[in-house]
Symmetry: C2
Amino acid sequence: MHSVRFTTETSSNGVVERDFMVGEVPGVLWSPVSSPDHAPLVLMGHGGGLHKKTPALRARAHDTVTTWGYTVVAIDAPGHGDRPRTAADEQARTEFREAMAAGDNKRFESVSVRYAISLAERAVPEWQATLDALQERPEIGTEAPIAYGGGISLGTAIGVPLTAIEPRITAAIFGGGFFVYEAQIEAARQITVPIQFLLPWDDEHVDRCSALELFDAFASKEKTLHANPGDHRDVRWVGLDKEFLARHLGRVA
Amino acid sequence: MHSVRFTTETSSNGVVERDFMVGEVPGVLWSPVSSPDHAPLVLMGHGGGLHKKTPALRARAHDTVTTWGYTVVAIDAPGHGDRPRTAADEQARTEFREAMAAGDNKRFESVSVRYAISLAERAVPEWQATLDALQERPEIGTEAPIAYGGGISLGTAIGVPLTAIEPRITAAIFGGGFFVYEAQIEAARQITVPIQFLLPWDDEHVDRCSALELFDAFASKEKTLHANPGDHRDVRWVGLDKEFLARHLGRVA
């Protein structure tokens, strides 16, 4: 088992940002400057082609840290961010570009699904190893409640199978913006923790029905879908349930 | 034009309840015991077969009054509550019972749509006359901002065409739980005010797709759909945007 190796530490606006490695996987931990031990831990996933410190993700992490006092962790997905790209990663990127340039949405979908399946297969054990390593840290331990905090798109494609097999995750924020495939639906049927689901109503590429089918599949007794107009890159979220994480993770004293 | 004739007045838990008549239409006004003039006015509609003081509606009205200091108004739909039933109302009720007893969902749908169209045609001008009369009252006047505050089912079947033609309504809460018909979709396309839309995810009778089509049709730039598991009679709403009305009507000083 790998342990957490912290590399750099910076801080801004009351939030400490610590880069780390777990084995070959680079991650980042955001936490309050002064935080009690065992504060809840929120896992965040980045979108396809992006990385763990994308401005939108960092902004959401900062907001979670400063509003609730939680610790937020993000890791780079395979072939993303600071990670080397395999030949398969490079090929998927080339195929994406070609399908986009050709305006071939069918091919775009098939490349997306194939790549998402391969990313999720690699990313799920990486998230689990990251959790194992973080729980070895005394300030986190096994007492900190854990939620998957989103986001949509690739973050959900990875988060759904992770949450399905990971009993340490007690609540999850998912969303649309990716091509849902059958293994996702099957994983969703295994999930019983409370779910908040964010649906961009007018996704440029993805049929909203497949996202609705995914929402339908969660076995959770508590699940809420929020839809707002917009494509998944420009949706303006309005009227979300901001207390969702606090209700399920508890408040930091 | 009819004016408001108040009949009885009671109060409980800091909320004054005043019954009134506008012409032949009985209504009820809930307001704080002491309320500033021109407080926002929230219109609430009851479900099919129910009436203006159904416990769930009254509870929602009390909550709106005590949380936000708003005035809430509800009226009985034609053939409902304290209103006489026409032969057509009686016939619709008989047909509902027969369709239910026969488990004939197709017939249930056609009776529902026909009856909802006839109720909306009569109820929309009644709501407008009620607004005219209430605005004659100095404590309300034309300055009080107005929202349609729900609910789902018949409340939305009537609320959508009302909001489409009534410029005094500046925000609206709608929902699923009824059979959406083409005139509803056309009315929704005329609506541009902010919309909150509540969707019971597992309605016993109504296909969720028709409710999604209605949500899709609103021309509003700001519209949020919230879905929770449950049939429309037993859905437990979780994670709703409780600030929706306050954002659009303002706060009472």
